[in-house]
């Protein structure tokens, strides 16, 4: 914050000096927007969220595990774009108690959260996007933050091993080993459900016990798109949950409740396979 304050004070000073000397106009760099759409799927199928306890198993892994999904989402942060001619765009990260700019909470079923609009992208061509799934150490160690990271306002946070949950997949599975649990105070876990909370961010030198499940992923567009005045391209990113479950060889009879860094690692290790660019649009008129 202090640096920003300095900047905020210094900028008008600089501008005043500049305008005094030159009297000419500063031409701002040409910029445009870029949109990333996160399309959650199971294989090629769209996801319809089912109620916890629903026995309508919409999907099946190649291993024969029948399941559905009742809740799905993840944090995306530190988005950058790059192009073949050296174009670089880095989404601004600015966090404080009122907001967490640059952190996005993508939640299936909330379409506005699935569209991320990047503004002030320098004009040029781009063929790659890089982003982080989860909230890395530098975010956690800022302390209490607002916006999508506010744990009292929809933020996904672990108290006991404090940090943000990178990704949540919950649902019902025919073979789930989960039995009914009454936690009291109206809180319960239904039978045959599964709950995978993938978190953990600590890098502890010389201690392999700690698992960091935050992953940075680069996706290729397979082509180039142009950003500029009046040009607002879109990358359609498919997030294939089947790849995660099959990559982790999930067996719901034994793996149904994952709530710790070590348990989440096998899922986090699949993330670079889970996210891919399906196609890009030069204009944002459609997905």
């Amino acid at each position: 914050m202090k640096q920003l304050m300095l900047l905020a004070f210094a900028m008008p000073m600089l501008l005043t000096l500049l305008s005094c000397n030159e009297g000419g106009e500063l031409t701002p760099e040409e910029v445009g927007t870029f949109q990333i759409y996160f399309d959650n799927k199971v294989g090629t199928s769209d996801i319809t969220l089912e109620e916890a306890g629903s026995t309508s198993y919409d999907f099946e892994t190649t291993g024969g595990e029948k399941f559905n999904i009742s809740s799905l989402g993840y944090y995306v942060s530190k988005i950058s774009l790059s192009g073949p001619n050296g174009e670089i765009y880095q989404d601004e990260v600015l966090v404080n108690a009122s907001d967490a700019k640059g952190y996005y909470h993508v939640i299936e079923g909330t379409s506005v959260s699935q569209n991320i609009l990047l503004e002030n992208v320098p004009a040029g061509t781009y063929d790659q996007a890089t982003f982080t799934i989860g909230v890395a150490e530098e975010g956690v160690q800022e302390g209490a933050l607002g916006g999508v990271l506010d744990p009292a306002n929809g933020g996904w946070f672990w108290n006991w091993n404090a940090g943000y949950i990178a990704m949540i997949i919950e649902g019902n599975a025919l073979n789930s080993g989960q039995e009914y649990v009454d936690w009291g105070n109206g809180s319960e876990t239904l039978a045959k459900t599964f709950s995978f909370h993938i978190g953990g961010w600590k890098n502890v030198p010389d201690n392999e016990n700690f698992v960091n499940n935050v992953r940075t992923i680069t996706v290729d567009f397979g082509t180039t798109v142009s950003v500029g005045e009046g040009l607002s391209p879109l990358a359609h990113v498919v997030v294939d949950i089947l790849k995660m479950l099959e990559g982790a060889s999930v067996d719901f009879s034994t793996t149904y409740s994952v709530h710790s860094p070590k348990g989440g690692k096998v899922f986090a290790d699949q993330l670079d396979q889970v996210f891919s660019v399906h196609h890009v649009h030069q204009s944002t008129s459609g997905h």
Binding site: S98, V140, E142, G143, D150, A152, N153, W160, N209
Partner: protein, 351 residues
């Protein structure tokens, strides 16, 4: 931005900027900085770890944090406040009558409530170190089933509906709506100011006072026998160790966080500042007196695969053998770490 606070330098910068602005632009009105409450690092202490840049201390923020600290509104049935288990006369540890904390509906916790103090200098919190930022500490007490039994979300709702709090948050942070980060920041402003560095030991170190012969002998012994773990001016190396209390571990301790059997039964090496006031001792409140603690180290330890190697000689558990006189001397020294000014500082009192 992961910047360690260097309060002095930042203040200087601000003054320079303010000066520059007032010279530069006559119409700009700059709010004078609130200097009534300043965090000061004791000269013999390490740099603070707290993120002051994100949460600068102000009198209004501190006062709000204090009000929250003493307010049972934070608990589900309005029966438990932070102060219930962290009392100033006990250096913000719990009463000896509550060896493990008592929460809502008289539920018992499993661990002894630690003293608060010098939190600005710590990297990790709780006996297992599961929390790495002071701001996140209160969430654990609020949402624990056996402590406050409330949800953070509901606390925020209660605060927004309250007749006083919305105004106080507006005054402290300029916000129209109370959200959890502001509440946590207010609490941190109060607790981060709890600096305990005015004990007789501190005065000795800073050449402002003396210790008597027995205490000095105790200090010399302490440096040989105890400072392997209770090191530095905070009297802890912030490590996690098994000090031979048990052979089986219902409370896994550090292993809850690391998920490794190598950490079973290991707990944070606690600070020894004000320890005279914070009985009972150990995470499970096993010992009632400092004499019992030293007797444990002298010959009461039990072996287990994770027992700290410092206490062993080969396969044999040797602990820390001490004569009766040595024990008395060490305890005499440890009592010089009691900070009377801290426990009677009106700044932290509910008034």
């Amino acid at each position: 931005m992961f910047i360690k606070a260097r309060v002095g330098i930042n203040k200087t910068k601000i003054f320079i900027i303010c000066g520059a602005i007032s010279l530069w632009s006559c119409q700009e009105s700059v709010r004078p900085e609130d200097t009534s409450l300043v965090f000061e690092r004791p000269p013999h202490f390490p740099e603070p770890t707290y993120t002051f840049d994100n949460n600068p201390i102000t009198q209004d923020g501190f006062d709000l944090g204090k009000k929250l600290f003493f307010d049972p509104l934070l608990s589900r049935d309005n029966s438990v406040s932070c102060n219930s288990c962290h009392q100033q006369a006990r250096a913000f540890a719990d009463s000896p009558l509550h060896p493990t904390s008592i929460g809502i509906e008289n539920k018992f916790g499993i661990r002894n409530a630690p003293a608060l103090g010098n939190l600005a200098f710590m990297d990790e919190f709780f006996w297992d170190g599961g929390v790495t930022h002071l701001d996140f500490v209160p969430i654990n007490a609020i949402e624990s089933d056996v402590e406050m039994g409330e949800t953070l979300e509901n606390v925020v709702a209660k605060l927004n509906d309250h007749k006083e709090y919305p105004h106080l948050f507006k005054k402290a942070f300029g916000v129209d709506e109370i959200t959890s980060p502001y509440m946590l920041h207010a609490l941190s402003q109060f607790t981060v100011m709890m600096v305990s560095a005015s004990s007789r030991y501190d005065k000795y170190v800073l050449r402002e006072g003396t210790l008597n012969e027995e205490e000095l002998k105790g200090l010399a012994l302490f440096e040989v026998k105890c400072s392997g773990c209770h090191s530095g001016e905070l009297f802890t190396d912030f490590s996690y160790r098994n000090n031979g209390l048990n052979t089986s571990f219902e409370d896994k301790g550090r292993a809850l966080i690391s998920e490794s059997n190598a950490d079973l039964g290991k707990f944070r090496v606690p600070t020894l500042r004000n320890v005279e006031l914070t009985a009972p001792y150990m995470h499970n409140a096993r010992f009632e007196t400092l004499e019992e603690v030293l007797d444990h180290y002298g010959g009461g330890m039990v072996d287990s695969p994770t027992l700290d190697p410092l206490f062993k000689d080969g396969q044999q558990v040797v602990g820390i053998p001490l004569t009766q006189i040595e024990k008395q001397q060490i305890i005499a020294f440890i009592r010089t770490l009691t900070d009377e000014a801290f426990i009677s500082d009106p700044k932290f009192m509910n008034q």
